[in-house]
């Protein structure tokens, strides 16, 4: 008998074979089906709440301070004609000397380390804990319609078995995580991210007054700035706030850990840059009567919406841990430049104007992701980011074009 004939005979005998007596495992199957259904809902709820939390955090922190304008302030929302007076020529503008007792809403005073008696203001920093991305709700809280109510009521023995399963709602978080971990559908190539970027640099800076981007949105037609930072003033930059959502697609030959070797990500990102400094500001620009300039405390917010594109290479992957390198870039459009001027009398004036052009940046980084279940992981992306000079409003990025940023967030895998 040849090997081929032997194989054929064995194959024929085996295909006839069925096991007549096996224990009924239907209960276990049904239990897992119910669990699986809940996990799908739980996963959806988690993703929606994470996305909502990131977006809500952005809006609350970004726009929260503008919700209530104190009485007596003037809010100017439209672009004003720019003054043509050269502020350089205005004589004897008094230096700020200890504006003690001056009530400036939303700005906290702190002593000037230079010791020259000049007031030094710092915006109240937004809470850096943008990791308010909420974890999926506790499974026990997920309300799932019972399968008995969805399908026609079975009869006889099956009915009683199903009813028992439906009442049996004793799954623990570990049950859900363990089962979700076994879910083979959850290790696909598409991922969704909810992220937040932390900047490692903030605080006082040194304004480069000769920089052309200092004139962004603040110059007259003659090129004279209408908001001119005082020489000797030390600007303060709050910790930038950045949050976003993104989608990643994995491709290429799988790594030994079974993950795609490469990935490309596209997203949308919101960033708020806050700075405060002392400046000579055109009265007309502020919306006050009269000509010339006067000294004011300037609190400045720039809102950006960006589209980051990133290319990933998985370096080392295991079931739970992923190390990867990334290179990418982003184009950011300034949505609005908002000024709040506080004059010597403590009166506030607000001006906002559009931001022309785009801010381009490039970044290079290494990342680490830990997947506590197959479909969800938490990641940390330390990145070196370079912001190109694109004539954008003065900000922290102007002072430090190359910065280390730390992206953290959740990734959901499909």
């Amino acid at each position: 008998m040849t090997d081929k004939e032997f194989d054929e005979k064995v194959r024929r005998m085996c295909s006839e074979m069925t096991s007549q007596q096996i224990p009924d495992v239907w209960d276990g199957i049904e239990k897992k089906l119910v669990l699986k259904r809940r996990i799908v809902m739980w996963r959806r709820a988690g993703m929606i709440s994470a996305a909502a939390a990131v977006i809500a955090a952005g809006f609350i922190l970004g726009y929260g301070e503008d919700v209530a304008s104190p009485a007596g302030t003037v809010t100017i929302s439209e672009e004003l004609p720019l003054v043509s007076q050269n502020i350089e020529e205005i004589p004897s503008v008094p230096e700020v000397s200890g504006a003690e007792g001056t009530a400036i809403p939303s700005i906290s005073r702190k002593s000037n380390p230079s010791g020259n008696g000049d007031a030094d203001f710092k915006c109240i920093e937004p809470s850096p804990s943008v990791s308010s991305v909420s974890l999926p709700a506790e499974p026990a809280e997920v309300i799932v319609p019972s399968s008995a109510s969805e399908s026609p009521a079975p009869s006889g023995q099956v009915e009683s078995e199903i009813a028992v399963v439906d009442r049996d709602d004793t799954y623990t978080v570990s049950d859900y995580l363990a089962f979700a971990d076994e879910d083979t559908r959850a290790s696909g190539r598409i991922s969704m991210t909810a992220s937040s970027d932390f900047y490692t640099i903030y605080g006082s800076g040194n304004v480069n007054f000769t920089s052309r981007s200092m004139s962004g949105g603040t110059s007259s037609g003659s090129g004279t700035p209408v908001v001119k930072p005082l020489s000797g003033s030390t600007p303060n930059h709050s910790l930038p706030l950045s949050a976003g959502l993104g989608v990643q697609y994995g491709f290429g030959k799988p790594t030994p850990g079974g993950q795609p070797r490469f990935g490309i990500g596209l997203g949308v990102n919101y960033t708020l840059l806050r700075s405060s400094y002392q400046a000579l500001v055109s009265k007309e620009y502020m919306g006050k009567y009269g000509q010339g300039s006067e000294q004011a405390s300037v609190s400045q917010n720039v809102h950006y919406l960006g589209i980051p594109v990133t290319f990933f290479v998985n370096i080392l992957t295991t079931d739970k841990i992923f190390f990867y390198a990334s290179v990418g870039g982003a184009a950011e459009k300034g949505l609005q430049l908002k000024y709040k001027f506080t004059d010597m009398n403590g009166e506030e004036f607000r001006v906002s104007e559009p931001v022309p052009g785009l801010q381009w940046s490039a970044d290079l980084g290494l990342g680490f992701e830990y997947r506590f279940v197959k479909f969800m992981g938490v990641y940390v992306d330390p990145r070196l980011t370079y912001w190109f000079d694109c004539s954008q409003p003065y900000s922290l990025r102007e002072e430090q074009r190359l910065q280390m940023t730390l992206g953290v967030g959740f990734r959901f895998h499909f």
Binding site: F6, V10, C14, P152, V158, T184
Partner: protein, 189 residues
């Protein structure tokens, strides 16, 4: 209690009902195929408890992936692929396949009488295959029963094509040797 006599005599109707999460239809599908699929799992896993675990997970996967069944080809064949994959995953998970090359001293040209298989019960053959070493059993099942090529087996198991060929050859030798022993035992009795 069997539900086959109630309705859903055609697989296509059963699949449609299962896609609507009809628990009764799912149970009928389970009852119709569980024993055949258990045989597949048992042949790969080699022990009853392990095979029952795979059977359970396999059915959960089947119900989850029913939407991807195109309707072309045999439904049983489609299901069978899922159970084979599920079994392979289980073997990989338990690191059973890493020892596949351990048995090197195995005769490949075993003297074998042609009529041994004729007098053999299917159950005995099935039991012998299930008791093969894991590496032999897996390659033998994939090649002889499922009909995969050595290239496909090598890809699925992450081994070289040559290793697949040699495992099959040794598995055949192992089976022939044990069939001969079984025959001899029967004759002695």
């Amino acid at each position: 209690m069997s539900h086959d006599d109630l309705d859903y005599t055609k697989d296509a109707d059963l699949v449609r009902a299962c896609l609507k999460n009809d628990r009764k239809a799912q149970r009928i599908l389970y009852e119709r195929y569980s024993s055949r699929m258990f045989s597949v799992c048992y042949r790969y896993i080699g022990d009853r408890d392990g095979a029952l675990d795979v059977l359970q997970d396999g059915f959960v996967t089947v119900f989850g992936k029913l939407g991807s069944y195109s309707g072309e080809g045999s439904f049983e064949g489609w299901m069978r692929k899922i159970f084979v994959n599920q079994s392979l995953m289980q073997l990989r998970k338990n690191d059973v396949l890493k020892d596949a090359d351990d048995i090197t001293e195995m005769k490949t040209n075993v003297p074998f009488e042609d009529n041994v298989l004729d007098g053999l019960q299917s159950e005995d053959l099935f039991r012998l295959i299930s008791s093969m070493p894991a590496g032999f059993r897996t390659v033998f099942n994939l090649s002889v029963i499922e009909g995969f090529s050595h290239q496909e087996i090598a890809q699925r198991l992450g081994i070289a094509e040559g290793a697949s060929r040699s495992q099959l050859s040794r598995a055949r030798g192992w089976l022939k040797e044990h069939l001969a022993l079984l025959e001899k035992g029967n004759d002695d009795r």
